[in-house]
């Protein structure tokens, strides 16, 4: 079966419509069928609609994403309550262990993202993976740092990612490989992203799933939940009327 590819982490400068369009067109050219663009929490829905139309012209599906950077677990819970029904994808940038643990066990969180530049803030260990395996959160790995870093810092990051992906696979936590770029020159084809994932020993099938099946299923599931027909997992309204 032919795979459809997704990049769930594009961060263009939303103030520059030209740059956003360039990145959307480049993503389409590179073979992606779905992209997620990070919006600020207080974005205007009209902007997203305009962008969705532009994506349609490029034969691209757009998902609206927010990156939460809470300082405490309480702040995270408040933000989830406020934004869960507004965004299709919620990623949590875990800057403390408490936040990481809360994010891993909360079923409203889609993606767990950790700092690639400060390795002491990568909290994806056995406990985190166990919590995430009971929840719905996936581990998101951005490729931008792998391209931007060099020498010993890239070596240390690769070593960290190798350990984390092994833990994630052992606990059945799904892995999503994203670009995380704000510049179109750093965008790569899906197969190239998967090839880069081989640097931290992610197998070929798992790497391809990380750029296709895993991100696609997150968006599909969330769209179903956000639909007005959704009642509960597995239950949805099929028809309304007097004869029902």
């Amino acid at each position: 079966m032919r795979r459809t590819y997704a990049d769930l982490h594009l961060c263009p400068n939303l103030a520059s419509a030209e740059q956003v369009l360039r990145m959307v067109n480049k993503a389409s050219k590179l073979g992606y069928r779905l992209i997620a663009i990070t919006f600020p929490p207080n974005f205007a829905e009209a902007d997203a609609k305009g962008l969705q139309n532009a994506c349609k012209q490029a034969k691209m599906d757009l998902a609206v994403r927010v990156d939460l950077k809470p300082r405490t677990p309480d702040e995270l819970l408040r933000a989830l309550r406020r934004f869960r029904r507004k965004f299709e994808i919620i990623a949590v940038m875990c800057e403390s262990k408490d936040v990481a643990r809360q994010a891993a066990k909360d079923r409203r969180v889609d993606l767990l993202n950790f700092s690639s530049f400060d390795l002491r803030r990568r909290f994806f260990d056995l406990a985190e993976a166990e919590l995430a395996s009971n929840g719905l959160a996936s581990l998101e790995i951005d490729m931008k740092p792998l391209l931007a870093l060099e020498g010993s810092s890239r070596i240390r990051l690769l070593s960290s990612l190798r350990r984390e992906t092994a833990i994630a696979e052992a606990f059945g936590v799904s892995i999503v490989v994203s670009s995380g770029v704000s510049d179109e020159l750093l965008m790569r084809r899906p197969l190239e992203q998967a090839a880069l994932a081989s640097l931290f020993d992610l197998g070929q099938t798992a790497a391809l799933d990380a750029v296709s099946r895993n991100p696609m299923s997150i968006v599909k599931m969330n769209r179903e939940k956000l639909s007005p027909r959704f009642v509960a997992p597995g239950i949805r309204i099929v028809r309304r009327g007097k004869d029902c």
């Binding site: 590179l30 792998l146 391209l147 931007a148 060099e150 179109e184 020159l185 750093l186 965008m187 790569r188 084809r189 197969l191 190239e192 992203q193 090839a195 880069l196 081989s198 640097l199 070929q204």
Partner: protein, 81 residues
């Protein structure tokens, strides 16, 4: 081609680079593409190395793999404009 060798060398070292069997077949400046040969076992290594190239000299660049093929004839068929 130096940039490709450098990228392979940086990621996989001299031992890894020696296993790729890389060689230049064709380079079209106008159409901005390069055809390189590598052993079939090292295709993913070379793909990874190419994806890791972000600049050549001081110029920011991106290198993408357009097609992979077992023969040069089939490759040109795949990438013909």
């Amino acid at each position: 081609m130096d940039a490709v060798w450098n990228a392979v060398g940086k990621l996989y070292g001299e031992y890894g680079a020696s296993r790729t069997g890389l060689s230049l077949i064709d380079y079209d400046v106008e159409r901005r593409f390069l055809v390189a040969r590598t052993t079939h076992t090292a295709v993913e290594m070379v793909r990874t190395a190419l994806a890791s190239i972000t600049r050549i000299g001081n110029k920011p660049v991106a290198v993408h793999v357009l097609a992979v093929s077992g023969t040069i004839k089939a490759l040109y068929k795949k990438i013909k404009p």
